[in-house]
Symmetry: C5
Subunit: 363 residues, 5 copies
Amino acid sequence: MKRRTRPIGASPIAISAPQNAHPTTITTYIYDGASYDAVNGLEQGTPGHFRWIDVCGFKDDALIADLARKLGLSDLSIADLFHLDQRAHTDVDGDLVQTILKMPVDRQPFVADQITLVLGLNFVLTLREQPRDCFDAVRKRLASGKGQIRSSSAYLFYAICDAVIDSYFPVLEGQGDLIEALEERILRDPGDGAMRDIHLLKRDLLVLRHAIWPMREALAALQRDDTPQIDEPLLPYLRDCSDHAFQLLDMVEVFRETAQGLVDLQLSSLSNRMNEVMKVLTMIATLFIPMTFIAGLYGMNFDRASPYNLPELGWRFGYLYAVGLMIASATTMLIIFWRLGWIFGRSKTNRRITGSETEKPHN
Amino acid sequence: MKRRTRPIGASPIAISAPQNAHPTTITTYIYDGASYDAVNGLEQGTPGHFRWIDVCGFKDDALIADLARKLGLSDLSIADLFHLDQRAHTDVDGDLVQTILKMPVDRQPFVADQITLVLGLNFVLTLREQPRDCFDAVRKRLASGKGQIRSSSAYLFYAICDAVIDSYFPVLEGQGDLIEALEERILRDPGDGAMRDIHLLKRDLLVLRHAIWPMREALAALQRDDTPQIDEPLLPYLRDCSDHAFQLLDMVEVFRETAQGLVDLQLSSLSNRMNEVMKVLTMIATLFIPMTFIAGLYGMNFDRASPYNLPELGWRFGYLYAVGLMIASATTMLIIFWRLGWIFGRSKTNRRITGSETEKPHN
Amino acid sequence: MKRRTRPIGASPIAISAPQNAHPTTITTYIYDGASYDAVNGLEQGTPGHFRWIDVCGFKDDALIADLARKLGLSDLSIADLFHLDQRAHTDVDGDLVQTILKMPVDRQPFVADQITLVLGLNFVLTLREQPRDCFDAVRKRLASGKGQIRSSSAYLFYAICDAVIDSYFPVLEGQGDLIEALEERILRDPGDGAMRDIHLLKRDLLVLRHAIWPMREALAALQRDDTPQIDEPLLPYLRDCSDHAFQLLDMVEVFRETAQGLVDLQLSSLSNRMNEVMKVLTMIATLFIPMTFIAGLYGMNFDRASPYNLPELGWRFGYLYAVGLMIASATTMLIIFWRLGWIFGRSKTNRRITGSETEKPHN
Amino acid sequence: MKRRTRPIGASPIAISAPQNAHPTTITTYIYDGASYDAVNGLEQGTPGHFRWIDVCGFKDDALIADLARKLGLSDLSIADLFHLDQRAHTDVDGDLVQTILKMPVDRQPFVADQITLVLGLNFVLTLREQPRDCFDAVRKRLASGKGQIRSSSAYLFYAICDAVIDSYFPVLEGQGDLIEALEERILRDPGDGAMRDIHLLKRDLLVLRHAIWPMREALAALQRDDTPQIDEPLLPYLRDCSDHAFQLLDMVEVFRETAQGLVDLQLSSLSNRMNEVMKVLTMIATLFIPMTFIAGLYGMNFDRASPYNLPELGWRFGYLYAVGLMIASATTMLIIFWRLGWIFGRSKTNRRITGSETEKPHN
Amino acid sequence: MKRRTRPIGASPIAISAPQNAHPTTITTYIYDGASYDAVNGLEQGTPGHFRWIDVCGFKDDALIADLARKLGLSDLSIADLFHLDQRAHTDVDGDLVQTILKMPVDRQPFVADQITLVLGLNFVLTLREQPRDCFDAVRKRLASGKGQIRSSSAYLFYAICDAVIDSYFPVLEGQGDLIEALEERILRDPGDGAMRDIHLLKRDLLVLRHAIWPMREALAALQRDDTPQIDEPLLPYLRDCSDHAFQLLDMVEVFRETAQGLVDLQLSSLSNRMNEVMKVLTMIATLFIPMTFIAGLYGMNFDRASPYNLPELGWRFGYLYAVGLMIASATTMLIIFWRLGWIFGRSKTNRRITGSETEKPHN
């Protein structure tokens, strides 16, 4: 969660640029069905052409505000461009559709960057803070001109949304791998800081869920009747994109519940391991304490002059008798341990605990 | 969760065949009320006949795309055929109804294969990756011609959906058996890796839930007004099929909560067993430590010249006195243990812990 | 959860009688406002009379299917009669209303039997597998003719539904008693297999919830406009019946949460008891280990020729000095235990732990 | 949860008075804007006057049924008056509005009594079993005649509902106090039966939630269009009353989650305390076991004739050497404990554990 | 949760001022597009001007009630002003809109003060108990006259609501910092009262959620059609404000789940630490107990006259043999510990447990 930079009670249309923002770079892609050009800096469009104005970095706030004002955004929308801690949502502002999405930047820990898309009659404006993006394939398709990508600004708008949604799949696949690695690690060695990693994993999944969930609503808003900017033929494509968001949420839910299951696995493994430790202690103590007692008994110094005092010490086979007593005591204990299932026949448990092998549980 | 093969930002109508796909085999079933024929390979239909085109394996993507295009699918729908990681859903695409379901392939761990059904005016197209399917009974009914199965392509479409849904029942019954086996195992021996199996069971149930839940919606979409391809008389059959999906979800919920209950049972059993281990250690230590102390006391080497040093050693019955002290100490301890309920009268607990018997809890 | 007997992909109208079904017995109750007769076997109705056809046991499937066909049920509805693993629901099939409910047969473990009610213009058909039912009071009211029970077939249909719903109250009261018994048992002796009984209790409550929840919907469906078979004046009665189902669900929810609370109580009690066991061990060990060390110290055999070796052994009051050391050590330990609150002043705790008394927590 | 007294399958209009009911007492309050009179027993109203008929105790069921019939209640509504285990709800029965609420009678454990309110054109009927009620302030306002309370029977109806809802606030404040007391107690001494009290608290809160939740719906039903008995100007008052019910539910939810947090606090405290106990044992054992071993070593009786046997025993400073070894061993152990943070520098922990002080966690 | 001061059953329009209320101070801000004046005390407005009447402290209840009555509030609304324990909500009362919000006053523990806003045609009335508020920036904007703040009373009303909502962001950022501090602390030292702080944190987050959740509804109510007092152009601003409330709820949910995760982390850390303590005890005991036994064995006093009694004592290298036995026993144990992974090669675990370093889990 980023810190807000807006002061409490400030004017809603005051522009507060984020601190330490990246330098502003603008790239304009001018295209129509036949032509395509990518220009650094802002370029005026010619009638009949579409423009994709891709802005990265919020340092030059005056430039960005000026650009947005020329494109027709309202004051409130312009101020909103600079608030990088918003939930994903779609606003319709006259002829313009403004959609805010979250784009993954780092995987572990998961960090997302906010991307604002504005769809106008013949332009798409994208704003983001981080230079890294997931639009390389979109740019290639735009340059190659294959498919419908140059057919309208709305299609490009869709293509960018689609790329943002799809870029979550590798993030979630990474989380899935992490879960499997954690499972193995807990079964091998539950104490090894696993709970901390489960905790961080759960936090990442939580942040992912809160990033994806409102994007689902933002995409649904695009498919409603009140966005005439989105043509009818584009709707199946947007539905497809919504389906992907649903699928991501499904994956997140599965991962979240699995991660919660890892907590139980970890607590159980710790408890199990403690049981094993205690069994070792109990067995050693229980074996040797009676034997040590017998040794202590015949180490007493009672006056041998009395025939009632420690007569065993004078026996010819007294030592063997004492050792025999000790062996009998130890044997009794071992038999009890064996009947309690603590030794022998439990080798399976020990093998798993020491983690030297893994096995298939279901067959 | 399968890995996606689509690159981020790729064209939505680009066909990306799954890697390591099975070789494509096509079987065409041509039938009407009176005749029936099953042909390997794709067969053109004759007017008045219905066709079931059953495609298995995605290796020959060009062939499949060509077939789909001939049957009238849109480019987006064709590209969707090759995405094997979709949620179950129903799309209406002009005259065609496209339903994606998940068909169980393996039980433990649960693995599902995606099956795409396309219903046209006089054909049903089914696509799946795995050669194993659950349609043998449907094929037999089609061959025998009994009932309404040859009456329309919509009825066959329903019959296939119904077979897919019904094939989850044995899977869930298997999970139910596994839960009962786990219950017994935890009560017999909580440490024996049971938590790992609970974890895997819970993951399977979670995957099952996420497989069945969207199928319920896909079936509901078929019953809505916007699918004129589904005739009115077919609706009660589809409702019956939806009811089965609901019933499956009920079973999954019951199993999921029961599996979560197994976690508590396991943690409690581990804790209980630890209590038993600690009681054994405490009893042995508490019995012998005072006795060993007494033995040590009379093993001291104080100078017997002084009459105040260890006079007991010179007593005629000193040894008996010392042994008597030890017996008194042990008896005191045993009485305390008995009053705490740790020994005798608690045999029930011990019996259960060693797992030699099971009993009916409710009567 | 019963096992399904239907093969996957079978025709939806194929009749598959349950295995090991009870022999079929049919009782026909013929009544109108003035007359009443109960006849074994199926009896044809006379105009102006109502019939209650009560079928028990599914062995003679042909007879039942034939009877249902004569009463006007569709093929799909007839096949449904034989599926004993359905969720409760209401179907309207032309002039007929078909409601499936679950009737409690056994309390602990809870077992329900499926009862199918079909309401026609002048008949009610009930089908169930188990001979035990909860309709004795309904039969008595029908025989006595008091109230409105002979006024219409719809009223009888309601009276049977009401009896089914009301028969859950004693089941739930039994579960409530069980919860109270478990609470007392856990506080008295947490190790005594209580967790297993909690687990079974939770499973029963889960099954109860999944039995009652869809019945609520089945009853709500009867009150909707699309069941003209149910007259307006009957609606308050059905609402009353729905209220009872709501009340049952409330009770189940309260019991389920209380049962979940028992899990915490059990884990805490086990942990508490372990604490007590460990305190006993720690106190005994900590008391005697230093004393045993002192005894061992003066049991060493250093050469007394050197005046630096064990001079205490030659002291006149050496023994008393050693015993004094031991007493001082033990006293120090006892004071520490007392200040930690482990002994004395904690008698309340000990009393509760040994479970010899119970007390009122709230006043 | 009270036990039902109704037999299964009984007629819905049969009156079954509760067992051991209190004797029936009736008070009639006759009032209009100018006059007010309270009469024991049932009094006939005069035109232009309003009546509040307050019935307490269900023993004389015939009298109550007769009274209700005279006031125009239907047979089903009359039978419902005697069912004291209903959920709160509102029924509109012709000209009459019948609302069932739950009135708190005891706080810990929480016990509620059912109160049935019937609003007619110029009367309000209230029925309850327990003599204790929360209407003293309402009676005083009625007697004093201040405000609108004598303006209509609907206003009095509202005033009684409002008093019932408001009487939950002191109950919940009591629960809040109990939670705070439990928090302190757990931090001071987690073993002292606290989990049992948490369990009882959670049960009370659960019962409270199930008492208040349906009352919210009963109040909402009163504000709907289908109750013309409630005049438009009364709606803001009823909304205010609904707001209070919402607020109560909010409080219950906060308390329920806090109580659930107490479970974690308790388990953690128990675990923490066990850690402390184990540390004491481990430190004592680890300090003295090596020392005792050294003492035992030099207590062996090997034949001193051989110069290789126990030469230390003959050393001039052998004893000092042995004691030095012991001191070195103990010092090593103490240093290890100190570096593990078990002794010194952890005094804070010990202070909290013994519970002698509390501190502010947040500042 | 504050205590209610209203007696049960009191008249809904009776004014009950809170006890120990702050002295009442009134500030009137009179402004229009061109002029601005802030006056202590209540000031009559002049036509064409707007007024913000800011009341703080409820001591002088008569003055407040009189002021409210002059502004046109109904009796019920006036009585409501004095109830400081309400849920946030919006009421429309004729020409007036009355919104109750909760304003944060203290961060840890979180304390909120109730603020009542009344919007009239040309005035805004704000009432609160605590002198501290979050309106400094609003006052500055009003004084400077920049933006639309002086354009209408509705805009000022919005600006105050927005300031209240925004003042939760620093509170939540403080909670986020606390969570991170707690995470580090638990990993460093789980026993150090961390669970208590988690408990208090969870309670604060719960109170925050219950403060923010109804404010979301109160803001939504302002955007509905039935508040003509709010002009159409203001709606985007209110939507923006609602979005902030949603964002706050998202943050609270993330924090709540993270705090719940801390509970698992804490329990696991405690269990882990216990494991370490037990391992130390077990290793020490297991190393020395067999050695002490051997020492005890050769400390027995059997009569050496018999050649069968303790012949080892007479061996030339008996002592070395005994010491050799002890070394062999200790070595065996150390090898076993090493193979169980308890010593060496586990230094990572020990490092984390003693908390001397932190590490990045994900990379």
